[in-house]
Symmetry: C2
Subunit: 494 residues, 2 copies
């Protein structure tokens, strides 16, 4: 067996373990009965342990070294680079630290659930402090030589992304969004769309839209879960979930379209590269660009509601659905407290606060006890609102309680990428909005398939983005889109 | 770490792998989209490979040898015996044979699907011959020193069961069943119960009955699948499936009750013995005794239909359900061609034919090409019917195409065990039928929990059976039950 064949064998084995773990995860969130939690936790951690053992085996490192000294084609070199980067990161972290982090994450999560319920940050602080300490230790070890300790964490979710890149971009975005929100702020909001619609009808609507957008139901499925998510279980098997609210059909549908964007990315990956490791998404920011493109750029447009209204009337024959009213309701903008409920503009301010705080945390400038005050200061300054208590403030999201520092920026990176993709697509597909109105989403999906999905992780996301959009300014593209879409709804312009 | 602790660690790891594999299997049969088949196959075979590697590791054998030379309590000794038996079997089989069998099973299955569809045994014969050859080779290697080569296969599903035990018992049973069927044969059949009932209502009925019987929905769930099955995914997570037919509510409900019996056994295993390996069912025959007890002895009784009728009327308010009619329809008896559609009596004749043919196969007296004729001879002699072609004859069942020789007897062993359990239970729970009529199934479940479920696999099934029923004759108990239940319906008695 050549070294390359040995590598692909090992990668297939690792992928099988990762896929099996994903099946267990999907099942846990959508099917598992409550009493299965204990045995499922044990099964999942054993599979992760096997994965880690096989991935960090010295033989795997030797294989990479052999391949690095061998003549390879460009694709093989990209694959070896990818595995080298991950292997080096993985072997640098001592088993005790991996274990300590896993324990602190479990404890942190459980403490957060109880502390959030009780609105008592003090009860959460010691566990959070432990996670801060371990995450700083992890960052210092996992990627020595990076310019900023936070880069070591960013690299995990968006390989190659750095504080030096993000800071100026996010500062500019915050300023521009502030100007936009100030302009919209005093205007009256459009009416909400809160028609009561039965959940079974909503399920049928989600199913219909998912298929129309281009999600392949022969290679995936749609289910319900408490928190919508999407997950690839292997080639030909991508699962998306959503949720429904009786008086908010647009919220559930938005979740469906968002997860559909993720799901279609997974379905479109270069599955013929199985065994190379290149058949994966190019990072979390790129993943988020796919969900946001469909959810926001397409899914909140007036042509989309013109496509949607007759389909809704087909499901609820007695009801009248006005595209314009739904469109206006879906494009309400407001400085608000809760990230997951935020509009398309304000959302990014939530992320920018997280970014600023996480950078300071990694620089050792903030301890757990400092966070509620630092949070309120940053929200007052950046978002323009202040939480009445930690429950809707620093404790609103699960990420930190599970030790996920460095993940938040991906959301806004996704919005920025999506904004520039949309502008390029308008140029390449000039009658895009007529397609949307007619429910023809294939041209947009084909564009993303070719330029993004089929590329897998051959390149760093930043390089892939640049190769697609050239020298476009994603901040200008995102802010331009917001002025044009929401400004029109509110009757303001730059 | 003591050797005992090391053993439990290894067993927990193996159980986690087996549980994960079971999750993948359940998902494949109930949830997976069609295009996921390829990647799922890969994932499952890697998990099985890891299991095999860990289970047959020489270190595991050394550990067993250390424990065999150590002072242990009775339970520990039972655990070590169990693992020793399985370990010795596993390490005797060379990897090439394991691989050849796996390949022949996959090929055999696919050939069978196509050949059955085309009703062309010749197209299946070469693949079947390969499975016969490999299975004989396997039997000769896996358990040297057994009295009959077929014992080596029986031992896999029902540890300790032998041809010497089964042959006289099955011969006696065949004779007794023949007498019974001859008595019933000329009589007119009760009317079928073929009311058209919507599938959603049938689902609700199955759900209700499952809960009433005592299946714990906090630690399990009920789904639909093409072929009903039940599977334990880990402590606190047992899944059962069923299917529904619009014009045959009793068939779907029978499947539900059957799988519920299996599922309650899994739920009642001694989960506090996790890590010993003793927290498993005592073989497939004992498993089948649990499903058949509930499906047939309870689920086809008149008191059960008296419990059921008002519940059905609650679901289908306009309909009238007569317990007596349903009871009579469910107890139709007839010499018939298809095992899975056979009644409670004839069913065992199908199994006895399989047993006779499998014994002859393992003795090398039958080759694949001989099977259609041997099948027809045996059916004419034992069941009293002859298939018009191989589709409804030798190719009716999947088992042989997947290389499962030695499994069939478990079904009748289960019926025999169940018959004696039922007689013992009537003695211990004298007002059993009043309980059933009132929908109170807890006393019967409690009896099985204590005597069967909680025992796990501390003992061989045969020994467990004897410790529960004493010197009762299961053939007499089964035949007696059939005369009393079906004979009454047909108006015949011994």
């Amino acid at each position: 067996m050549t070294a390359w064949t040995q590598l692909t064998e090992r990668v297939l084995e690792l992928d099988a373990l990762a896929g099996a773990t994903a099946v267990l995860e999907w099942d846990q969130q959508t099917q598992m009965p409550p009493k299965g939690a204990g045995s499922r936790g044990t099964q999942t951690s054993y599979l992760q342990k096997f994965y880690h053992e096989k991935f960090t085996a010295p033989a795997f490192g030797d294989l990479l070294a052999t391949l690095e000294a061998s003549p390879l084609d460009e694709q093989q070199r990209a694959a070896v680079r990818l595995h080298r980067r991950r292997y080096d990161r993985a072997v640098r972290v001592p088993a005790e630290l991996v274990q300590a982090l896993a324990g602190a994450r479990t404890e942190g999560f459980h403490a957060w659930v109880a502390a959030k319920e009780a609105d008592d940050f003090g009860a959460f602080a010691p566990k959070l402090q432990r996670l801060l300490d371990l995450s700083r230790e992890y960052a210092a070890i996992v990627a020595p030589g990076v310019a900023h300790p936070y880069d070591a964490l960013l690299d995990e979710y968006d390989p190659g992304t750095t504080v030096a890149d993000l800071r100026p971009m996010f500062e500019r975005l915050a300023t521009e969004l502030g100007t936009f929100l100030d302009a919209v702020g005093p205007r009256p909001h459009p009416a909400a769309f809160d028609r009561k619609l039965d959940l079974e009808g909503q399920r049928r609507l989600s199913d219909r839209v998912l298929r129309d957008l281009g999600f392949d139901m022969q290679g995936g499925r749609l289910d319900k879960s408490a928190h919508p998510f999407s997950i690839g279980l292997g080639a030909g098997d991508v699962r998306v979930t959503t949720r429904y609210f009786e008086d908010n059909v647009l919220s559930g549908l938005g979740s469906t379209i968002h997860e559909c964007g993720h799901g279609m990315y997974e379905q479109g990956l270069p599955h013929d590269l199985a065994g190379t490791g290149l058949n994966q998404a190019a990072g979390m920011g790129m993943h988020e660009s796919q969900s946001r493109f469909w959810e926001n750029f397409i899914g909140r447009s007036l042509p989309f509601y013109r496509y949607l209204a007759p389909r809704m009337a087909g499901i609820w024959p007695g009801e009248d659905f006005d595209p314009e009213s739904m469109y206006r309701a879906a494009n309400r903008v407001e400085r608000s407290l809760i990230r997951v409920e935020a509009d398309e503009a304000t959302y990014n301010l939530h992320i920018i606060v997280r970014f600023q705080l996480e950078v300071a945390i990694l620089e050792g400038k903030l301890q757990a006890a400092d966070l509620p005050e630092a949070w309120n200061d940053a929200y007052r300054r950046v978002v323009g609102v202040v939480a009445p208590s930690p429950k809707t403030g620093v404790m609103q999201d699960v990420h930190w309680s599970s030790g996920y520092f460095g993940y938040f920026p991906s959301y806004t990176i996704g919005n920025l990428y999506a904004a520039s993709f949309a502008q390029c697509m308008l140029r390449d597909v000039p009658d895009l909005w007529s397609h949307v109105e007619r429910g023809e989403f294939a041209p947009m999906l084909a564009w993303l398939r070719e330029k993004v999905h089929h590329q897998g992780i051959r390149h760093d996301a930043r390089d892939l983005f640049r190769s697609i959009v050239g020298d476009r300014d994603p901040v200008a593209d995102l802010v331009g889109h917001l002025w044009s879409r929401h400004g029109a709804v509110y009757g303001v312009s730059r």
